[in-house]
Amino acid sequence: MWVHKTLIVTDSVVSKVRAIGEQIGPNAAGMWTTPLSLDGAEPPTHWISAGLIGQDFADMLTSPEALHAASALFGIALTLAECQNILANADVSAKDALEAIDRLGLKLVQVESHLDSLSS
């Protein structure tokens, strides 16, 4: 069962949630690689992942208690307070990614060094 989720987290917790993803497994590893900021310029203030995820993964994100319980099943050492902090710094919705970005007043950050140079 797949469900669409847009998951936006603040830069302050992105290292933590990435690490959790790595521990959950390859399906959740490598998330939150797209930077966001208020004006689209670096440095990023938020990070986004969007797409289809498993219902079990989506269920983890419904409350700090659910995240805490699920993390224990995966052998991830997270306190309830840490789970509360993560979800307080996260925007989880079923909306289209661009709609969620707009709602939060954010823009996609483009890394200048990754943009095409001018035609020669």
């Binding site: 998330m31 797209t34 992942s49 969007a50 797409g51 993964f57 990754h114 095409d116 035609s119 020669s120």
Partner: protein, 415 residues
């Protein structure tokens, strides 16, 4: 009756090959890649190729390359009736925390693994350490039986070198499961493991494996592990299938494709570009625009541009654009060039648009991964629909490009 039919039969036998056959012939003896999201037999929801895509609105974690006709290589399991013997040829590598025996417990014969440890991994390894060759993709099938008594999380297939690959645990107990998996090529040799790499008490517990088959599946298959980064199979109003890339984080990547024997390439894609707001990489050979021996099709090439770009890099980057293609727009775009000529050109919907003959420097094309939908998997995500791609390591003739474009346009209907 038969004499009356003979002329018709004769005409049929002489009839020209259809487009699919022409594409197949064009790619057959060349380093190439053929991606076709309309062919469900090439799509899997997971990167390990265990769960086929059966309908639209499902994620695509593995898209097989059709350029080698999906033809399997010979059976690599030479003693399929006695897996236990197969596993026991190199005792140091057959198992971790366990023993293997030929068993008739379940009727017939099967390989029985019995754990001996209370902690640590538990898996069996056909072919021994590093038995799977670097640069080759494999299709693996087997039957698995997990008794209720197996106390662990379940059994899965795993690359024991780095604990990657098939993530799903098979947990059904007390019945034979048939498992099929596909492993795209890795850059290094690896070891297939069947078991559990999670530290669990499996002392005295057993599982069984039978009918193991391992065959090479040649081709440059594209995959994505991360759930949210998988493009999604969609169907347009005319019932045609395509991959939707969300312009956020979706992409696929192939193992390195060796185009280093040539300094020429022709790359044709069928896309619908949905936005010109931000630069988006449709496909790119290598991790950046200035990687030596690379090429790419970018749509749009820069923020707010209404263009589609082909770029090619020997040791120097050059680019060439098809203009006046403002989003939303459907286009079959063909980029082609030769480093030593030098030249880089682009056609849109079967019509030549521009050529750049500036110096590309020196060298051949590279031996690099192909990214589809995002630069190096980290930036410039493409927002749009992907109807397929054909890439061949040579400079195609106009007639050959016409075949590629016509084939992709049948799927996209851009013109």
């Amino acid at each position: 009756m038969l004499p009356m039919l003979l002329p018709a039969i004769s005409r049929l036998l002489r009839s020209p090959p259809n487009l699919e056959q022409q594409v197949k012939k064009l790619l057959a003896n060349e380093q190439s890649i053929w991606l076709d999201p309309a062919d469900l037999s090439t799509l899997y929801q997971d990167s390990a190729g265990t769960t086929p895509v059966t309908a639209d609105n499902q994620p695509v974690g593995l898209m097989l390359d059709k350029s080698r006709s999906l033809a399997l290589g010979p059976e690599l399991i030479t003693d399929g009736d006695n897996e236990a013997a197969l596993f026991s040829t190199s005792p140091a590598t057959i198992a971790t925390n366990g023993t293997i025996a030929r068993s008739t417990d379940l009727g017939g014969t099967a390989c029985k693994f019995t754990g001996t440890g209370t902690t640590g991994a538990a898996y069996i390894k056909p072919f021994g350490a590093n038995g799977m060759t670097a640069g080759k993709s494999y299709k693996i099938t087997l039957r698995l039986y997990i008794p209720t008594a197996w106390v662990g999380s379940g059994i899965r297939l795993i690359d024991t070198n780095d604990a990657s690959w098939s993530t799903a645990f098979y947990t059904t107990r007390d019945s034979w499961l048939t498992i099929t998996a596909i492993r795209p090529a890795k850059a290094v040799a690896w070891t297939l493991g069947i078991g559990s790499n999670i530290s669990e008490d499996h002392n005295g517990q057993s599982f069984y494996v039978d009918d193991l088959s391992v065959k090479e599946l040649p081709g440059n298959h594209a995959y994505q592990n991360t759930a949210t980064a998988k493009p999604v199979l969609k169907k347009n109003v005319n019932g045609r299938l395509f991959l939707e890339f969300d312009g956020i984080d979706d992409f696929l990547v192939t193992p390195a494709i060796d185009f280093s024997a040539t300094d020429s390439v022709t790359a044709c894609v069928g896309i619908r570009k949905l936005s010109d707001a931000l630069a988006g990489v449709v496909l790119e050979f290598g991790t950046s625009f200035d990687t030596p021996g690379s090429f790419g099709i970018i749509a749009p090439p820069s923020n707010g541009s209404a263009n589609v770009r082909y770029r090619q890099t020997g040791s120097i980057l050059i680019t060439t654009d098809a203009t006046a293609l403002a989003a939303p727009v459907s286009v079959v775009a063909t980029g082609y060039g030769k480093i030593s000529a030098p030249s880089a050109s682009i056609r849109a919907n079967g019509i030549w648009k521009s050529t750049n003959t500036n110096n590309q420097g020196t060298g051949n094309m590279g031996n690099l991964p192909l990214y589809i939908g995002r630069r190096a998997g980290v930036s410039s995500p493409f927002k749009g629909y992907f109807y397929g791609a054909l890439i061949v390591g040579k400079l195609c003739t106009a007639q050959q490009m016409g075949i590629m474009e016509k084939y992709l346009n049948r799927k996209l209907r851009a013109y």
